[in-house]
């Protein structure tokens, strides 16, 4: 299983986080991951759960917003390029409905202009934006900063 996880993380462009330094049973924050790529959702979940966060995921903005409505999260990490409802639109709607929600927008799909869309996500309310690939440490640092 560890070898499989390593391969997945390598293909996603990050280094596998090993071990966990969080007290057993203690949940730091409730985080929702919205990404249409299953590998991305799996990898981000692994990284965040290893730090004691409670994580749920959704495959597009429609599902993500529905989950946020059903059980409010502390932080949403949303991809930009997604079918059905993409990340900038999702950010706008979440920011309007949940002013205190922390939002991190990430992007790396497609061939071009990902930075343009990340800037837009920031313009429209994302607290942080990150271009893929990024390391687990970079992600965790962004999450920690948002949750301060």
């Amino acid at each position: 299983m560890l070898e499989i996880k390593k391969k997945i993380c390598q293909s996603y462009g990050c280094v596998l986080v090993l071990g966990c330094d969080v007290e057993k049973g203690k949940v730091l924050a409730r985080i929702l991951i919205i990404d249409d790529e299953e590998v991305a959702r799996f990898t981000l979940r692994e990284i965040l759960e290893s730090r004691g966060h409670e994580v749920d995921d959704a495959s597009d903005g429609l599902e993500g917003i529905a989950k946020q409505k059903a059980g409010e999260f502390d932080l949403v990490i949303t991809d930009i390029i997604m079918p059905e409802k993409e990340g900038v639109e999702t950010t706008i709607e979440l920011r309007h409905e949940y002013p205190n929600l922390k939002i991190i927008a990430i992007s790396g799909g497609g061939r071009t202009r990902n930075l343009d869309f990340l800037k837009m996500a920031e313009q429209f309310g994302a607290d942080k934006v990150m271009a893929k690939p990024f390391s687990p440490d970079e992600l965790l640092a962004a999450v920690n900063e948002c949750l301060k």
Binding site: I80, P83, E84, I92, H96, R111, R113, D116
Partner: protein
């Protein structure tokens, strides 16, 4: 039994019937099993759409083209080249169907067609003519009727569904031809016949889709789109006229489009606006020698002096069109325009011939696509990749959602149009700059307005 029940019953039989080509893929055949599932799903979706639009019901409009006799005659050849035979049959049937019509392979050697709009006799006649064309093309038969049987769907006393032989074609021809208006002269034949054609063309209007050039972030081209209202919506593009090569309606529409384009360009010139106008022209017009000649003469006469403001968009290009033919057509159009672009199916990924032919861009129109955005995303990626390999620019029309907007932009599409970006216009406007965040601004505004009204 309602028509809905009839057709649902037909569909259930469609799923259950064993298909010999699904069990063992034969040489020269494509993988029919997965294609078959997609065909059935697509057929069901379109059938549902038709049932919703045609409340009067579609019973008595379902026919079966039974090619068992043809199969027996072809026998070994059919076995050997089953995939190619099936593809040829489907190609012939598809070519003769209208926008509202459907077909699907029913059993191994039969095809079901649905004509929801045609009268009972007209539907049977059309089915018979199509089947004869199939036999003629496959066999070169002089008397194709012996090799094909046409059946009509009927509801049995016990509520079951069966197919019964349709009346002989000679009887149908006599009855139907009494009601078809005579064509009085060649000019009317060219124009598609008086009366019915005039009434139809009187209802055709035009809108203009602003097209964004992503490299420069400027809307500088307005794409002409003919539209015709129907109950519950409207038809657009060349779908505003029925598909019927003998009546020349597509050609007549293309002439109407050129006349409207000329008026538009004249207005732009007088008001000193710099916009370009994209003019769709159907391959059928260009492929028919007389029609092409007349079309080009009209272009020459009406577009003199504004050629550099014209983009021709070739639509309806068939698969497998020879490169030499495309080169000939593009060259002829290019002498009267700024550039020539061509529209394809989203699955098309072979472009070397089109680059050589001189096309500026290749594109797709997803407005009426029934594919999920997830599937469109993947297909668009392949389409753009294939075009870029051949140094062709790409365009996408009919972008209706912000998700498709971001997908198209991030895939590196060069030009884009659709109401996710901006509303269509009644006339071509002046060139204007476009910022990538513009499609989101109305969303932000409504969110802010909603917030203000809450407080």
């Amino acid at each position: 039994m309602s028509s809905k029940t009839l057709l649902k019953g037909l569909l259930s039989k469609l799923h259950l019937l064993p298909k010999s080509h699904e069990s063992k893929p034969k040489k020269n055949s494509v993988d029919h099993s997965s294609n078959r599932s997609k065909d059935i799903l697509s057929f069901e979706l379109r059938l549902d759409g038709i049932l919703k639009r045609h409340e009067s019901g579609v019973s008595d409009h379902v026919y079966l083209i039974d090619l068992s006799n043809l199969h027996d005659k072809l026998s070994e050849r059919w076995q050997k080249e089953e995939g190619a035979v099936h593809d040829a049959i489907c190609g012939i049937i598809e070519k003769r169907l209208g926008e509202n019509d459907l077909f699907i392979q029913y059993e191994d050697w039969s095809y079901m067609v649905v004509f929801p709009i045609l009268g009972v006799k007209e539907g049977q006649l059309k089915t018979t003519l199509i089947s004869e064309e199939v036999v003629r093309k496959l066999m070169g038969e002089e008397n194709p009727r012996e090799l094909v049987e046409i059946k009509a769907a009927t509801i049995e006393d016990d509520g079951g569904i069966s197919f019964r032989p349709a009346p002989p074609i000679e009887t149908l021809i006599d009855e139907v031809s009494r009601n078809i208006p005579e064509v009085e002269n060649a000019q009317e034949a060219e124009g598609g016949g008086k009366g019915r054609a005039d009434a139809l063309f009187d209802k055709i209007g035009f809108i203009f889709r602003p097209m964004l050039a992503l490299n420069t972030k400027v809307v500088s081209t307005f794409m002409m789109l003919p539209i015709r209202p129907i109950s519950g919506g409207f038809l657009s593009g060349h779908d505003v006229v029925p598909v019927s090569p003998e009546q020349g309606w597509v050609f007549k529409l293309d002439k109407l489009i050129i006349r409207k384009a000329a008026e538009t360009l004249d207005t732009l010139k007088k008001s000193k606006k710099n916009s370009l106008v994209s003019i769709p022209v159907h391959f059928e017009t260009l492929a028919h020698h007389n029609w092409r000649t007349k079309y080009i003469e009209l272009c020459t006469a009406l577009l003199e002096g504004v050629e550099k403001k014209v983009v021709f968009e070739i639509v309806g290009l068939p698969d497998g069109v020879p490169q030499a033919r495309v080169l000939e057509l593009v060259t002829e159009l290019h002498t009267r325009s700024r550039s020539v672009i061509a529209r394809f199916d989203v699955d098309h990924t072979s472009f070397p011939a089109f680059k050589v032919a001189g096309l500026h861009a290749v594109g797709i129109d997803i407005y009426k696509s029934e594919l999920s955005e997830d599937k469109l995303m993947k297909k668009l990626s392949k389409f753009v990749s294939a075009a870029k390999k051949n140094q062709l620019k790409t365009y996408i029309l009919g972008v209706r959602t912000l998700s498709m907007y971001t997908i198209a932009v991030s895939e590196g599409v060069d030009y884009m149009a659709g109401y996710a970006l901006s509303e269509t216009a009644k006339d071509a406007q002046e060139v204007y700059a476009f910022k990538l965040d513009m499609p989101y601004l109305s969303l932000v505004e409504s969110a802010m307005n909603g917030k203000n009204s809450d407080t």
